[in-house]
Amino acid sequence: MDAIETIRVAKDSLFVNKLRSVLTMLGIIIGVGAVILLVSIGEGARKEIYKELGELGSNILVVVPGKTSKEGGMHMGTSVVRKITYDEAKFIEKRAKNILHAVPVIVGTSWIKYKGKSRDTYIVGVTEPYFEIRNLKMGIGRGISTSDVDSHLKVCVLGRTVRKEIMGDANPLGAVVSIGDAKYRVIGIMAQKGMALGFDIDDVVFIPTTSSMELFDTDRLFNITLKVRSTELVDRAKKEIKEILIKRHANKEDFTILSQDEMIAVMGKILNIMTAVLAGIATISLIVGGIGIMNIMLVSVRERTREIGIRKAVGAKNRDILIQFLAESIILSVAGGIGGVVLGVALSTGLKQLFDFLPTHITWWSVAIAFAFSALIGIFFGVYPARKASLYDPIVALRYE
């Protein structure tokens, strides 16, 4: 039996049960669509993070507490990690020849209140160079200055979202807000930065590191963000900081110094896992779709037992019957796969348009893999019913009512 006729016969029998065929395909459509959509979300996140990290510039180093293994996996909670302190940051800035700035960063959350309105938000303690290092632009007013830090001044710079939520259109400069138990004077508003990965980077308040130490009652830093004098000096600077810190940490290397490349590598590993988990979840729905195909094909084989008998009586070989039914399940899954590609691409594009915090990124390989996988599923879950059909005894099949 020729290929064109095989496809025509398969197509005809799928058309007889249009609704059933469409419902069966729906399983594959959703599965393939989900793979493409979820992978595009994961890859979109990767792109966004890489972009953010790339913007940091290649002469940035970040020192974080705890030792990260060479493979990039984090050791969490395995041993007591010695904290990195404000004084250490100051010490590095003073001693390390290759370092231009060392910013001690503290991150916490707290309520910020203004005239009866309040918001629970991120409070980030920084020093003056932070804004330049992280490429953060001021909207109005000024940023945190060195004298603010040195004098433990209670001043703050608000992100756009915080300002909008607690003060609306009121003139913010000079306004006094409550953070924790203390009063802070607003000295500046950040320029808008937008959303990244569902995280509103305008929903943040900057205060001097020294004030944040009082607010959170700690000298434990979130990290030290360092600017090296030049890109060529990054390796030397790393070595220098390492020596300084090891000496101060009783000869133990219980901290990690990450360069831009390493931050990208670490994030890449995390994102790989995230993408794999998303793809895995989506694949399960694809397999469920495949089981749906198998179920419907088994029903179809049973319903057409007599037809199989007739075809065999006029000369169909086992292989002809096998191919006929296999063609049906493959057409179902491939058509479902095409539908799924359309759905997945449409959804990821739509999401990107609708929500700027979900920067999806469609990759050709996820489309190719999802589509190929759907075809494979048609074969895999189609073989059993088709084989069953092909092995019917013609006499028994002809007698079937």
Partner: protein, 223 residues
Amino acid sequence: MVILSDITKSYILPGGEVEVLKGISLEIKRGEFISIMGTSGSGKSTLLNLIGCLDRPTSGKYLLDSIAINTLSGNELAEIRNKKIGFVFQSFNLIPRLSAIKNVELPLLYAGILTGERRDKAYEFLKKVGLSERGEHMPSELSGGEQQRVAIARALINNPAIILADEPTGNLDSKTGQEIIDIFKAIHREGSTIIMVTHEKYIAEQAERIITIKDGVCFGGCY
């Protein structure tokens, strides 16, 4: 052309083995028109299915056109059915989803004949059974007699050595049944070998020879 020697056929049922054919020997020559008669359950259909290579005997020898059928595989039997046998059943056995002409084309499909030639030939055979206008009709849109004529066109299309008909008039009124028998007679005159199972005497008597089966053995007319 058909030589059966001491053919038996048993079915294994939950209650034990039932021997339906108990040693049948018979010979049919090319161009003969044979009726097989016998009471219901005597094994007529079983015998016809064996001759038609739809089934295999439990023991005994079957030569069709000097080919030893016993030794063939399932797929080889399928090829024999395709090339040498044309079946006509009591219940027509058309595929309900396919139009009349598609049903007629079916044996050609498995003979590897391409679309255009298939259609032309199917049309030719539909015309032969007087249904040239009905090609695009679905089986459900045809009368019983018309459906059986489509089935005959399908049986003839591969130019088979034997036409096997299992009570072809069983589901038809006597007038329509006679029309079907007339078609068989016509194709017999053109040289076809026809073996027809029936339990109606007046139909059986229109054949050249009547084979009678009783309780799984040959009662008469086997040679």
